[in-house]
C-alpha cells in the first residue's frame, strides 16, 4: 500500500519535473524573444536620441534661428526685468 503510494508519488514528481522543465524552456525562449524585442526597441530609441541630439544641436539651432527665422539676442534696451 505504502509502496504503491510512493510509486505514484515518484511517477507524479517525475512527470512534474518534465513539465516544469518544459515550461522553463518555453518561458526562457519567450523571454529571449522579448529580450530581442527590447533590444530592437533599444536600438531604435538610441538612434532616435542620437537623431534628436543631432537636430537639436546648439550650433544648428542657433544658425537656423539667426538665418532662417531672423532672430537675434535682444539688445540691452529691449530687455525688461521684473522684480517682485
Amino acid at each position: 500500500m505504502v509502496n504503491g503510494a510512493l510509486l505514484l508519488a515518484v511517477l507524479g514528481s517525475a512527470l512534474g519535473v518534465v513539465y516544469v522543465q518544459h515550461q522553463s524552456r518555453r518561458l526562457f525562449v519567450e523571454s529571449q524573444e522579448l529580450q530581442r524585442e527590447a533590444d530592437r526597441l533599444g536600438v531604435e530609441w538610441n538612434m532616435l536620441q542620437l537623431e534628436q541630439a543631432a537636430w537639436a544641436s546648439h550650433g544648428r539651432i542657433e544658425r537656423l534661428a539667426r538665418e532662417r527665422l531672423d532672430m537675434r539676442i535682444p539688445s540691452r534696451d529691449d530687455v525688461v526685468i521684473l522684480r517682485q
Binding site: 523571454s31 536600438v43 538610441n46 536620441q49 542620437l50 541630439a53 539676442i73 530687455v79 526685468i81
Partner: protein, 574 residues
C-alpha cells in the same frame, strides 16, 4: 505414399545444427543487448556530453554601457548595439570563390581578405569587420556563407561630439574607457556580460535558447555636472578666440561657486570622439586639468588677502612702488609703468608687481605661501579626473627673498586652470573651500572655512575695479552684472628660463560679484605676439561666456540703475 515414406525416414539433418544456429543468433542478440546496456546505461553520460558538445553552446549576452548625460539629462554618451562580423576561416576557406562578394559588402580588399582567410584556415575565429550597422549585418548574413557569423557588440556615440570631448572622453573598440569620465568611472559605467546556453545548428547559427546561466548586468547611468548649453557656449567662444588670436591652444573652466561643480570645461585644440581615425594626440589632452602654468598676476588677490589677514595692512594702506621697478637679489621686478604710492585696490586694479613683491617681502615668509596652500595650490582638487596634475607649490615656505617676492605675484608656483578656478571659488564662496566635482551633486558638499569671510568680501570688492575703465580688463565687463576678476599675463618658462615671446594669457573671475554664482578661468596659450595682454585676449572671452551663462541660468542682475519694479537691462550674448 511418398509422403508417408519420407515421414518415416529418419531426418538426415544432424541435431546439432539448429542448436548452433540458435546459439549464434542468441549470442549476437545478447551482444547487442550488452552493447546497448553499455551505451545506454554505463556510458550514458559520455554519449550525452558528446552529443551536447556538438550542438549546445554557452554564448555571452553582451551588456550595454551606462549612458552619460549632462545635469539636465541631455545625453553625452550613448551605447548603441552594433554587430561585428566574424568568420570561422576553416569553413569559410571552402567558399573562397564567394569572398569577393563579402569583401564588397564590407568594403574590404578582396585579395587581402582571401589571403587572411587562407593564412588562418587552421584557426576558428577571425574578425572580418567590427561595428557594422544592423542593416549591413543582415545583408552579410543573407549571403549565407559558411562559417560567417555575427557578434553583438556595443558602440559608443557622443552626441555632443567635439564640444564635450575632453570631459567625457571615449572608449576603445572593446568598450573600455580610455580618457576622461569614461575612464574615471569605467567600473561604474561598464556592464557585466551575462551568459546563456543555446542550441546551434551545423552552421553555427543559434536555433534555440535553452537556459539562462547569468543575466547580463547593464552599466549604470552617470549624470555629470556639465551643462550642455554652457559647454557649447564656452566651446564656441573659446574656439573663436583661439582662432582669431592664432593661439596654440586654450582652456576654459566654468564652476558653480556654491557647489564646486564643473558646469563647463573646454579646451582647444579639441577632437571629435565619434571619428577618431585622424586624431592628433596633442588634441586629446584635457589641458584644463593636465597642463600646469604659473598663474602669474591671478594670485595677487590672494597676496592681498594675506596682507589683510596679517593685520599689518588695511584696505587704505599705501605702498610705495617707487620708480616702477625694484631689485631683489639678482632680479628686477617691474611694473608696466610707474604707479607711485598706491593702495591695495590700485595694486589689483593696475596689477602692480612691485607692490605685490613689497607685501610678500614685508609679511612673514609663510604668509603668502600658507595662503596659497590653504586655497588649494599644489593639491588635488578632489575631482579625480584621469591624468589630473596637482601643480607645484614649494613644500616649505620659500627662504630666499627673491622666491618670496616672486611667489607674491604668481611665479614659482604652478597650477592647472582647474586649480586656479578652484582657488577663485574659495574667494567666491566667502572663504569656504569645497572639493571640485564632475558629477552633479544634489546639495553643496561640506566645505571648510579657510579664509575670513569679511576679508574675502572686501578683496572681492577690490577685484571689481579690475574691470573698471582704469583697470587692466574693462573688456571683461558684463552689462547688468558686477564682475570681480583678475588678469594674468604670464611669460612661459621654456628650456633655460623664461621665453621672451611666449605668453599665457589668463583671466579668472566671478559674477555677480555681490553674491557670486559662477567662477570662470579663461586661459589662452601663446596668443599672437602683438596683443598678448590678458585684457585684450582672455577677458573678452570671459565676458561673452559669462554674459551668456548668466542669462541661460536666469541669474538676477545685481548692477542695474535702481528705478522701481521695471528695469531695462541687457541680457545679451554679444
Amino acid at each position: 505414399m511418398l509422403r508417408d515414406a519420407q515421414k518415416d525416414k529418419p531426418s538426415i539433418l544432424p541435431l546439432w545444427r539448429p542448436a548452433v544456429l540458435l546459439l549464434a543468433l542468441g549470442g549476437l542478440a545478447a551482444g547487442l543487448v550488452v552493447r546497448a546496456f553499455d551505451l545506454q546505461v554505463l556510458d550514458k553520460q559520455f554519449l550525452l556530453d558528446q552529443g551536447q558538445q556538438r550542438h549546445l553552446r554557452v554564448v555571452e549576452i553582451p551588456a550595454h554601457r551606462g549612458v552619460i548625460s549632462d545635469r539636465n539629462g541631455e545625453p553625452l554618451a550613448i551605447s548603441s548595439p552594433v554587430d561585428s562580423v566574424w568568420a570561422d576561416p576553416s569553413r569559410l576557406v571552402t567558399a573562397l570563390d564567394r569572398v569577393p562578394e563579402l569583401a564588397k559588402l564590407l568594403e574590404l580588399d578582396a585579395r587581402v581578405l582571401a589571403r587572411r582567410i587562407q593564412e588562418r584556415s587552421d584557426k576558428e575565429f577571425l574578425y572580418l569587420k567590427r561595428h557594422v550597422t544592423p542593416e549591413l549585418a543582415a545583408r552579410v548574413m543573407d549571403l549565407q556563407l559558411p562559417g560567417v557569423s555575427l557578434q553583438r557588440e556595443y558602440r559608443r556615440f557622443y552626441p555632443a561630439g567635439e564640444v564635450a570631448a575632453h570631459v567625457v572622453g571615449f572608449t576603445n573598440i572593446d568598450d573600455h574607457g580610455q580618457e576622461g569620465v569614461e575612464l574615471a568611472y569605467d567600473d561604474w559605467l561598464r556592464g557585466e556580460p551575462g551568459a546563456k546556453r543555446v542550441i546551434k545548428d551545423r552552421l553555427g547559427r543559434v536555433i534555440e535558447d535553452v537556459e539562462s546561466i547569468r543575466a547580463p548586468q547593464p552599466g549604470r547611468p552617470l549624470t555629470l555636472s556639465i551643462d550642455r548649453r554652457l559647454q557649447y557656449l564656452a566651446y564656441r567662444e573659446l574656439k573663436a578666440a583661439v582662432q582669431e588670436q592664432g593661439a596654440r591652444g586654450g582652456s576654459l573652466v566654468l564652476l558653480d561657486a556654491a557647489t564646486g561643480e564643473v558646469l563647463a570645461m573646454v579646451n582647444q585644440p579639441a577632437y571629435n570622439p565619434n571619428n577618431r581615425t585622424e586624431i592628433n594626440p596633442q588634441s586629446l589632452r584635457n589641458r584644463a586639468v593636465t597642463d600646469v602654468y604659473e598663474p602669474g598676476s591671478t594670485v595677487k588677490p590672494f597676496t592681498v588677502v594675506a596682507a589683510l589677514e596679517s593685520g599689518r595692512y588695511r584696505p587704505d594702506s599705501m605702498i610705495d612702488t617707487g620708480p616702477g621697478f625694484m631689485t631683489v637679489g639678482r632680479f628686477t621686478i617691474k611694473d608696466t609703468r610707474p604707479l607711485g604710492r598706491i593702495d591695495l585696490t590700485t595694486l589689483l586694479q593696475k596689477s602692480s608687481n612691485v607692490a605685490s613683491a613689497r607685501i610678500g617681502l614685508d609679511l612673514p615668509p609663510e604668509a603668502v605661501w600658507g595662503l596659497l596652500a590653504r586655497v588649494g595650490f599644489g593639491q588635488a582638487t578632489g575631482a579625480g579626473f584621469p591624468g589630473e596634475a596637482v601643480g607645484a607649490l614649494p613644500p616649505k615656505p620659500p627662504r630666499y627673498e627673491s622666491e618670496r617676492a616672486a611667489l607674491s605675484y604668481g611665479y614659482g608656483v604652478s597650477a592647472t586652470p582647474l586649480q586656479l578656478a578652484h582657488a577663485y571659488t574659495v574667494l567666491a564662496a566667502d572663504g569656504v573651500r569645497r572639493p571640485i566635482s564632475f558629477l552633479a551633486v544634489s546639495e553643496p558638499p561640506p566645505g571648510e572655512q579657510v579664509l575670513d569671510p569679511q576679508i574675502v568680501r572686501r578683496v572681492r570688492a577690490m577685484m571689481e575695479t579690475v574691470v573698471s575703465d582704469g583697470g587692466t580688463a574693462p573688456t571683461a565687463r558684463v552689462h547688468g552684472y558686477r564682475v570681480a576678476g583678475k588678469t594674468g599675463t604670464v611669460r612661459k618658462a621654456g628650456r633655460g628660463g623664461y621665453v621672451d615671446s611666449a605668453y599665457v594669457s589668463f583671466f579668472a573671475g566671478m559674477a555677480p560679484a555681490s553674491k557670486p554664482r559662477l567662477v570662470m578661468v579663461v586661459m589662452i596659450d601663446e596668443p599672437h605676439a602683438d596683443s598678448y595682454y590678458a585684457g585684450r585676449v582672455s577677458a573678452p572671452v570671459f565676458a561673452r561666456v559669462m554674459a551668456g551663462a548668466l542669462r541661460l541660468l536666469n541669474v538676477a542682475p545685481d548692477d542695474l540703475p535702481a528705478s522701481g519694479a521695471l528695469v531695462a537691462a541687457n541680457g545679451g550674448l554679444r
